[in-house]
C-alpha cells in the first residue's frame, strides 16, 4: 500500500511537471504582456516596457523562463516561501490566490453538496421506478439541464431570479394568471410524479393544483415574500413529516420506538425554539454550530433511551430528525430577519454582483442573509448543471446493482424492499459514484469560470480568465497549478476510495 502510494505520488509529480511545462508554453503563445504598451503613445513607454520585461523576465525565452517560474513554485512545499511570480499589476500571485480560493470554495461547496444529495436521491428514485412517467419526466429534464449552456442559465437566473424578483418584492402580490399557471404546472408535475391509472392521475392533478393555488394565494395575500416565516404550526407539520420520512428510510415504520423517538425530538425542537430565543438573537456562527451538535446529541440520547432492543436505528433516526428540525428552526429565525435585511438592501435583496454587500453592518442573521442572497443564484446555476450528471450516473449505477444476484438473494431471503434498497443496493450503487464525485470536485474548483464571470465573483475562475484576457501569464499559471494539484490529488483519492469501498478492487503495489 505504502509503495503504491509513493509510486502514485511520484507519477503525479511527473504529470504536474509535464503539464505545467506544456501550459506555460501555451500561455506564452496566448498573449503578449507588452501589448498594451506597444500601441501606446506614453512618453515613458520605453521605461514601462523595460520595467515589465524585468518583472516578468521577458528577455529570457519561454522554455528557460519556465524554470525560473518552477524554481519559485517548488518553494511552495515550504509554507510561507511560496513564489509564483507577480501579476502585471505588481501584486504577488500568491496573495491573489489566497483571496480567490476561499470565495471559490464558498461558491462551489454548497453547489457540490446539494448536487450530490439531490442528484443521487433523484437518480435512485428514477431507477426504482424505471420507465414510469416520473422516470421519463426526470430523464427529459436532466437532459435539458445537461444541454443548457451555463452562461445562458446564469444570465437568465440573473434576469429573472434577481432583477425581476427584486422588482416583484416591491409589490409582492401574485396575479391571477400567474396563480393559474403555477396551479396547472404543479398539477401536471405531481400527476407525472405520482402516476398510476388515469383516474388517479386526474385526482392527483386536481388536488395538487388546488393546493398550489391555495398556497400561492396565501403567500400573495400575506405578503409572505416580504415577511416570510414558518411559524410554529408549519414547523410542527414539517417536523412530523420529517420524523415519519426519516423513520421510514432508516428503520421502517413498524419500528415504533424509532418513530416515537423521532417525534419526541420534534417536540423538543419546538420547545427549544422558544426557550432559546434570547440565545439565538445574540447568536454567532459558533453558537449555531454548537446548537446543531447539541441537537444531534439530544436526538442520540432520546433514541438511546427509547431504543429498546434495537437502539442503533432509533438513535440514528432521532438524531437525523433532530438535526433537520434544528435546521428548520434556524431557517425560521433567518426568515424573521428578512424584512430588516430587505430594508437594509434598499428593497432589492437578491444580489447579482460579488459575494457580499460592501460595508454592510448587521448581526449574524443579517450578514448570513446577505451571503445567502448573493450566493443563491450562482449556486443554483452550478447546481442545475452538475445535478444532471449525478442523476444519470446514480440512476445507471442503481439499475446495474438492482439487477445483481445478491439483490435477488436478499429478496429471496424475505427482506423487506426497504432493506433491500437501502442496505444492499444503495450502498453498492454509491461505489462507482465515489470516483465521479472525486473527479468532479477536482474539476469544479477551477471550473466555475462562467458562473463567476456572470456574477462577478472574484474567485479562481475569474482570476484565470482575467489573466488570459489581460495577457498576464503568472496568475494564469498560479490558478492552473492549484487546479492541477487538486485534480491530480482528487484523482488519487478516487482510486484509493474505490479500492477501500470495493474489496474486489485491490491496489497493486
Amino acid at each position: 500500500m505504502a509503495s503504491y502510494l509513493l509510486r502514485r505520488l511520484g507519477v503525479s509529480l511527473l504529470i504536474l511537471l509535464g503539464a505545467s511545462f506544456l501550459v506555460y508554453m501555451l500561455v506564452s503563445v496566448s498573449g503578449d504582456p507588452l501589448m498594451e504598451y506597444r500601441a501606446s503613445n506614453k512618453p515613458n513607454k520605453e521605461q514601462l516596457m523595460q520595467a515589465r520585461i524585468a518583472l516578468l523576465h521577458l528577455n529570457i525565452p519561454a522554455p528557460a523562463r519556465y524554470f525560473i517560474w518552477l524554481s519559485g513554485a517548488v518553494k511552495c512545499v515550504v509554507p510561507g516561501k511560496c513564489d509564483l511570480g507577480k501579476a502585471i499589476s505588481g501584486q504577488p500571485v500568491t496573495a491573489a490566490l489566497a483571496s480567490a480560493i476561499p470565495s471559490t470554495l464558498q461558491l462551489v461547496t454548497a453547489a457540490i453538496l446539494l448536487a450530490i444529495i439531490i442528484g443521487i436521491a433523484i437518480g435512485i428514485v428514477t431507477a426504482l421506478r424505471q420507465y414510469s412517467g416520473f422516470d421519463y419526466t426526470v430523464t427529459f429534464v436532466t437532459f435539458l439541464f445537461f444541454s443548457l449552456p451555463s452562461f445562458w442559465v446564469a444570465v437568465l437566473l440573473k434576469e429573472f431570479g434577481a432583477i425581476r424578483f427584486n422588482t416583484f418584492l416591491g409589490h409582492p402580490t401574485i396575479g391571477l394568471t400567474a396563480l393559474l399557471v403555477i396551479a396547472l404546472l404543479s398539477g401536471v408535475v405531481w400527476a407525472l410524479i405520482i402516476g398510476g391509472t388515469w383516474k388517479r392521475r386526474g385526482v392527483t392533478f386536481v388536488i395538487a393544483a388546488a393546493a398550489a393555488a391555495a398556497v400561492t394565494e396565501y403567500l400573495s395575500v400575506s405578503k409572505w415574500f416580504l415577511y416570510p416565516g414558518l411559524g410554529v404550526v408549519l414547523i410542527v407539520v414539517f417536523g412530523v413529516a420529517i420524523a415519519v420520512g426519516v423513520t421510514v428510510l432508516l428503520a421502517g415504520l413498524q419500528h415504533r420506538r424509532a418513530l416515537y423517538a423521532s417525534l419526541i425530538t420534534v417536540a423538543l425542537g419546538v420547545i427549544a425554539m422558544y426557550a432559546l430565543r434570547p440565545v439565538l438573537n445574540q447568536a454567532s456562527f459558533w453558537t449555531i454550530v454548537l446548537l446543531g451538535l447539541a441537537a444531534i446529541a439530544a436526538g442520540l440520547v432520546v433514541g438511546w433511551l427509547l431504543g429498546g432492543y434495537d437502539r442503533g436505528q432509533s438513535m440514528k433516526a432521532a438524531a437525523l430528525t433532530s438535526f433537520l428540525v434544528a435546521a428548520l428552526v434556524l431557517l425560521d429565525r433567518f426568515m424573521i430577519s428578512w424584512p430588516q435585511y430587505v430594508n437594509l438592501a434598499n428593497g432589492r435583496p437578491i444580489g447579482t454582483i460579488g459575494a457580499a454587500t460592501p460595508n454592510l453592518q448587521g448581526d449574524f442573521w443579517i450578514t448570513g442573509l446577505d451571503k445567502f442572497s448573493h450566493l443563491v443564484l450562482p449556486t443554483t446555476a452550478l447546481l442545475l448543471i452538475s445535478l444532471a450528471s449525478y442523476t444519470r450516473y446514480s440512476r445507471a449505477s442503481m439499475l446495474e446493482v438492482m439487477g445483481q444476484d445478491y439483490v435477488r438473494t436478499a429478496r429471496a431471503k424475505g427482506l423487506s424492499e426497504r432493506v433491500v434498497v437501502t442496505r444492499h443496493a444503495f450502498r453498492n450503487a454509491l461505489i462507482p459514484l465515489a470516483t465521479v464525485v472525486a473527479f468532479d470536485i477536482g474539476q469544479l474548483l477551477g471550473g466555475a469560470v462562467i458562473t463567476e464571470n456572470v456574477f462577478s465573483i472574484k474567485g479562481m475562475g475569474q482570476l484565470f480568465i482575467q489573466g488570459l484576457q489581460r495577457q498576464d501569464p503568472n496568475p494564469v499559471m498560479g490558478t492552473f497549478l492549484v487546479v492541477a494539484i487538486s485534480a491530480v490529488s482528487f484523482n488519487l483519492i478516487a482510486d484509493l476510495a474505490y479500492s477501500a469501498l470495493d474489496p474486489r478492487v485491490r491496489v497493486t503495489a
Binding site: L26, R129, P149, Q254, K316, R418, V476
Partner: protein, 368 residues
Amino acid sequence: MSSQQPDRLTDTLDSREVPEDVKGLSQGALVRKRFLGHTGAIVSLVLLALVVILAITSVGVGFHGWWKYNWRQTPDIVNGGHPTLKLFPPSLGDHPFGQDTVGRDYFAMTMRGAQISLLVTVMVGVISGFVGVVIGALSGFFRGWLESVLMRFTDIVIIIPLLLLGGVVAYNSKANVFVLGGLLGLTAWTGMARLVRGDFLSLREREFVDAARLAGASNGRIIFKHILPNAIGVITVNTTLLMSSAILLETSLSYLGMGVRPPDTSLGRLISDNQAAFSTRPWLFWWPGLFIVIICLCINFVGDGLRDAFDPRQKKLVLKRVKEPDHDPLLEATQASALPGMPLSEIVAPPTAAGGSTTTIDLDEGGR
C-alpha cells in the same frame, strides 16, 4: 448482449410465421432495430437533421441560400427590430427572429451561427474521436511501456484547461474557426482514450482473440477485424457525448470572447454580443440559446438511444411490482415501504424477521 439474442430471434420467427431460412440477426441489425425502437432518439435525430438542413440551406455556405437576407446585409430596421414570427396565424414575416441593433436579419445571423457551431462540434467529434480511439486502442492492445507512456500523456492532457486554448486562438489573429475546432479536438480526446483502452484491455483477453492469434492473424488484423468492431458501441456513444459537450464548450468560449472571432459568428458569440441588450431586445438572447439547447438536447438523446441500442443490459431490469390486491400482503407491504408515492396506510407490519433484526447491520459496513 448475447443473452438478448434468443428473444429477438423468436420474435422475428413469430412475426414471419413460416421461416424460409432461419437466419440470426447480425450485430448491426440488432443495434439498428433497437435504435429505431427508441422514439426519443429517432425524433431527436430527425429534428437534428432538420436543424442542420435549415442552417445550411437557408443562408447557404458559399452558395446563395433560399432566405432573402444573409448575415452581413443591414436592411432598414422595421418596428424596432421586433421578431415578425407569428404562430396564429402562422406567418414568417420579413424578419422572423427580429433584427439586431444595426438592422441585420437575426434569422440569417442565427443560422450562420448555427453553421459555425455545428462545424466546430463536428470537428471536435471527428478529431478527438479519432485521436482518442488510436491512443486508447494502442495502449489497451499493446500494453507495456507504450501503455504507460500514452496514459501518462493522457493524464497530462486532461489537466490542461481548455479555456487556455481559447486564449491562444483569441490572441493569434490568423487563427480561425478551423484552428479552434482543431485545437479543441486535439485536447478533448482524453475521456474517449481511457474508455477505449478499458474496452480493449478486456477484449484482448477474450477467447476469440486467442483463436484469431492461433489462426495466424496479425496484430493489425486482430485490432481492426476482431476487437474494434466489438468496441464500436463505446466509441459511437462517446463520440456523441463528446459532440454535445463540444457545442457547449464552443459557445462558452465564444461567450467569454475567446472562441470564434469576428467576422465569423457562432451561437455563443451572438449571445455574448447581445447580452447587454437583454432588457431592451430579449429576442437577440433567446433565439441563439434556443438553438444551442435544441442541438445539444438532440445529440444527447441520440447518444442515449445509441447507448441503449449497443448495450441492452440496462433495459433488462424491470422491478417486479405487485399491484393486484390478492397477492401476498407481506410482499405488498414491503414494497409499499420503499415506494414513496404509496399511501402509508397500506403498510401491514411484516414479521420482525423481515424488518427488524436483520437490519441491525450497521452503516460502517459500507462506509469504511
